[in-house]
Symmetry: D3
Subunit: 308 residues, 6 copies
């Protein structure tokens, strides 16, 4: 036990074990097929953000995949709290965790197998957020680049489920990062509308109105919903609608949202400067301020501090 | 060592180890993203079938994913032969192996990790083919059912790469198996043309001409190519072209091909009987005979024997 | 005349005649081309439901087909009332009529014809509703199945016109009924969104919100509109929007609407149970109660009684 | 009997009866749904053209609709010959018949019906060809106009089946005939390629090569196939491929084919003159000559004579 | 100077010169590529209409093309006022000007060039509106015809930017004008929805509701926006939504809007009469009245006077 | 005259004038709408390449636009030869000309115009090829980058006509050049297939087979056709077919063709190295050798010499 004293604990099929022992058979369906769903929230000041909403979305994803966790939403919620608690001591004050739940369809049994577990695999984990790696985006803004790869169509694999099938996104990311590793891919959907990046939603501001793609073509981000709700509170009009690169190039401001990034300003799309190049536009700033207040954590400062 | 005497051996990142020890960290990119490619051939009478073609296709898949195995095609070929050799003693005479290679992008390193391996994961495996489970298809023919789920478009995720992202196929299969677990899903592509099932290609025969979907929308199956080559040798005209359900309902014969199935007759599509309901139509039979001769293995009999 | 004493009367090109005498030349354009439009309402307790709305829709359909009935909406309305009146005596108390108007482009004249009528054919009819045949859906719920056949695109043949061209729907229905004759087809439109079944609209309930496909891709059902209106009265939020199978699989409740069915609960989509499998979910029940009150007829009981 | 002495005879569900007695219940599925298939050939000098090919296509159409005629192809062939024979005496020497077979799904039984026939309806008919009405096209050429209405997609309702659902075509025709009743509609398919008109295929000639749309998007016309075969015999290269308006506007020659028209020259598309405006271009003429020889009937002269 | 006394003055790259001297090198990028953006307003009673809105839209167009005018919006606004002022003396009292700004990417320099200007070309012009030529539309209504040519998709070339690439529109117009030179083309977008004509937006009225295509697929006309604003003031419900030919054929009223036409009634679509054929329907008339009041100019009378 | 002694001569509406005098009214339709067509060939050793083929294509483009040059192909051919002759004395021995013909729809007349020419504008020009600017591509290979902008669909504006509407291409180019000005855009068509760049076609080599997009989605390049013909002569199999990025990433070799570039090797697509990174692969080299022989000009050396 002592050798794992400094190691994170993960919930793994009924047990709380050191992360390095959380191993899956190479024939797990999620390893060979990506046949799983997951969700991911974060802590702010070591407190979990909107866990219920994330767990609810996890179960939506699973229903879309006809995947039965064999465990209730309440149980996974409790387990998540326990996992975070067991790992908090490893965090520095200025750090926070990504907190995730993963459910897969487990191992396909074949003759001669010697695995110790069949049926769904359930994992609850936390890992430190990559604050330092992404900090520069808060200083310089995110350079969004649109890859030629399009997002999978909803009638093939719905973007609304958060699954272990990420190759569409990964190949898109590799395409834009081949130019510059800081580039951030935001894909177009099959109709040519802006949709989403790997784990991130996009918003643009035009003439005081906040615009973000319709839910049908994107993962309905909890942070995205948080921004929509904050906008309503602040009286900023917000539309969920089809937007495309004309809106992007003519945006006054733009930002992406994600669990870990919350709100992160975008300063260019395909190399074209957004607005006048200001990193934090006025509406972006108002939403950030409201977000910071909501989560009681100045996440902007948290990122910027990591640059020092 | 003795405890693993009856266990299959798998190549795993440089080592030949018992299958039950071939475990991957739960944070392997292929587990959390399906970020890997694979290929799969089979043995006939314990001899590997067209290994070079399969390895070539594996490298095509990897290039499409910008995935570097860190090992040459020649090395993987050699490893594959060794793996099969090490496991042959576990096979009965009437059994054969699926023989697979898997390459993934490995583990994403995060702070505090204690994994023992980063960089690509390379696995070479063999597992017994599910002869008994599928034997009835050779007696009764395969009931093909077209799901409402469409195959992913090539501009989102190319069907030509054999990857660890199978949810599009899995959800499609679950849809048709909800009616009857024997149903075999063959998807339509985005244009409404017949394309492929999970690991299987489809052929129909109309007026003496063999028709199969164009490569752009399907995995270019080695067995599919084998049938195309055999047809050429037998003087059976064969077209790779767009075909749809009109061709399906008006087919005189139909069959699917896959590594393990070789050629397996289809007797209905969406419940509509193909031709006059004969399981083995004349052109299907000629191609099977030629296939059996090519591989020196009466795979039809191999399957049918398992029904006894 | 006496031989037709127990026969229904139909309006047929200016005359009220026994149904069995309402015959059309085999070269009628609606027989050879389906070149006609129709509409269909029902009675509740022998009273016609929203006749004006149905007649208005009939004329919309005709305009889309450039089809001139040669008779005014008012005249057809009057005729409809007369036809029902003439046939009411044939109904039992627990029965009701489907009441339909049909207008076709008539017979194409060719040399040597001996037909007695050219110009548009106008028919007004009533037939007993298939209460017994469909009663089990009110006990068990409707098992919706999505066929692979897609609904015709609006730029080819608008789904908003109710025409005599039903093969798209019929082939779709035959596809799903090949698995189980109780299955109820609901098609996807060209974009992969849920649209409609043969004469039926679909609604799903998610988190207390009623969702139904946009009118552009479906027949704007009068029952559909009735539900939308009732929802407004009951304060149930309702959106006409693009919905797809993600919404279907994650629905808390679902139901179909049609002239004859009014509101009929859906308990599964593609074999996946809706919500927790309850046949009558709370919002469905509230809408049914309001519908029953509106039409002064407990149609649920009417159907269930037929099971006895 | 004498009153029908000058009337055509039609085969109608087992009987040979005068055409004016061939009546169907208004509730026949083909009247209310267009739920039927048909085929149509013609006579040349009172001899039926390629009857076997037409009957074969009829059965393809029926399989696509899951429609069972309850009668064999051989029987319908025999009946067709008998029907023509019974009606030949009504033809003048310079006239010819359209000869058609129609199979529908018959009447849906409802309570209280008094029809005398359920099950499929089978009709075999012949009607005089509209030689006079179309003669001017052979003098002036056909002015093809492309409507805005697109042909139904194969995944909704396959254009390859010849069915009683013609509204897509009819609405398209009415659109172009609203400008000039001589206009001839040729629709684009969903991809924007030229496909077909109501009962007619299109060919264009560019630089000595004959081009016609691929079969997947059009009815595979017997006359179309005849032209393809004749071209092969004459050594005129012919491609079945995707063609669009660029090919149309740049065609040197163009023509349509149909059962009755055989080969009819096109002189303009959307008002743009084809080639230099010559009605009979050299390749069109060669094909017509070969066609005339094949059918032993100078159909051009037959049409032109009707202008006198 | 005297020779140009009766000639209009144009702003051309920094100078105010007679129109006939405003010449561009044949190798200007807008001449060889259409590589420019423009905008166009009109005067009412010699007063410029909504100049700021037009200039704002010009800059949106330029951003979509990454085209830098090298001059501010304020400067172009001032120049525009000056240009109009310099040319007003050439107008009769009943005439008005189209007032346009054009910005192009200038000349591509090649070796040996002798042009006197590189960098962006900026032109501000005014030309008399074609009142007489279009006057009959106000008497008879516009006959809208839908060409087979579809509008370019937003992911290829956004319709929201007003550019010097008009061939898509021009070819569409030539198609419908080949039938009758009075025909007015309104294109369908890629999805088959009504979108726009050459410089004109379309509105239809159905059951008291004003409908117009969504902005994403059309140029966001200033006149279109004016109508939307006026409708709001008048309490006429107005939806920006997907509309198609079903709405067109079933419209009670319809009209087009453009800078010069303001509101011009449509009386037919594809030859089908709108409503009962009344040129000025009640809602159209109310909007015209409000428009006339807004611009203090009875533009209807202005057009009709030109018929005398 | 002397002042233009060193200036190129251009044919301009009937006259041979110094290039700097070839000016068009700013209201020329090609300036304001891009309403023109053009073609472009080059000289090799000061001899014009395949002029007839280029002129033929020009007339195809014009027919697609319904644009009448008012002058015959023979006349333009003669003029072209004269223009080149008049300008040859300005070329150095190692230079060559681009030789172009441009036809536009001329000026729209409005009241008060003082232009000296209405009707079509015809220009024949030659300009020195940008040998030096592009020379590095022959040393390093072309880095192809796929923009997110898709090529216009053939049903909106056919890519087969070479027109003055280039914004689709220009915006695509600007997108990829925003990353690196050496990047070369090759667009995908609406279906996601590789199509073409600005004035260039693409070929890939896979397993000894030459693949290039079908003509329907690209300008049918004369150099493209030259390569196809040379491949036939050399016995290199060549297919005109749908190819996509899977083919791109798995190509052994790739190159682009254009009038000026002839054959120029591609060494990467989206940053992924083609084959093993060799600039001149074996099949590319064979085709170049044959091309050099055909045109009697070592164009590779011509470009490489410019690097010195």
């Amino acid at each position: 036990m002592s050798e794992f004293a400094n190691e994170r604990i993960v919930y793994f099929n009924g047990q709380y074990i050191p992360e390095s022992q959380a191993l899956v058979p190479y024939r797990e369906r999620s390893f060979i097929f990506g046949d799983g769903a997951f969700d991911l929230t974060r802590t702010f000041n070591h407190t979990i953000f909107k866990l219920d909403e994330h767990i609810e979305r996890l179960y939506y994803s699973m229903r879309a995949l006809r995947l039965d966790a064999g465990i209730s939403a309440e149980e996974i919620t409790d387990i998540t709290r326990i996992v975070v608690e067991k790992n908090l001591h490893l965090l520095d004050a200025d750090e926070d965790y990504w907190v995730g739940q993963r459910v897969t369809r487990g191992v396909n049994k074949v003759d001669g197998d010697n695995w110790n577990h069949y049926g769904p695999t359930v994992i609850v984990e936390c890992v430190p957020m990559p604050i330092k790696e992404r900090a520069h985006y808060y200083r310089d803004g995110v350079p969004v680049v649109i890859p030629s790869v399009r997002r999978t169509t909803p009638d093939a694999l719905t973007p609304r489920a958060k699954t272990h099938n990420y190759l569409n996104m990964i190949v898109a990311e590799l395409e834009v990062k081949a130019h510059d590793s800081n580039n951030w891919a935001v894909l177009l959907d099959h109709n040519g509308n802006l949709c989403e990046g790997m784990g991130s939603n996009i918003f643009v501001v035009r003439n005081g109105v906040l615009l973000t793609p319709r839910e049908q073509f994107v993962l309905p981000g909890i942070s995205r919903q948080t921004v929509i709700d904050l906008a309503a509170e602040l009286g900023i009009p917000c539309q969920q609608t089809d937007i495309d690169l004309f809106d992007g190039y003519n945006a006054d401001e733009a930002f992406i949202t994600s669990t870990s990034l919350c709100i992160c300003p975008v300063t260019s799309i395909n190399g074209a400067v957004i607005g006048d190049g200001t990193v934090y536009g006025p509406i972006t700033q108002r939403l950030i301020d409201a977000y910071v207040e909501l989560v009681s954590c100045d996440f902007i400062q948290q990122y910027l501090d990591a640059l020092k």
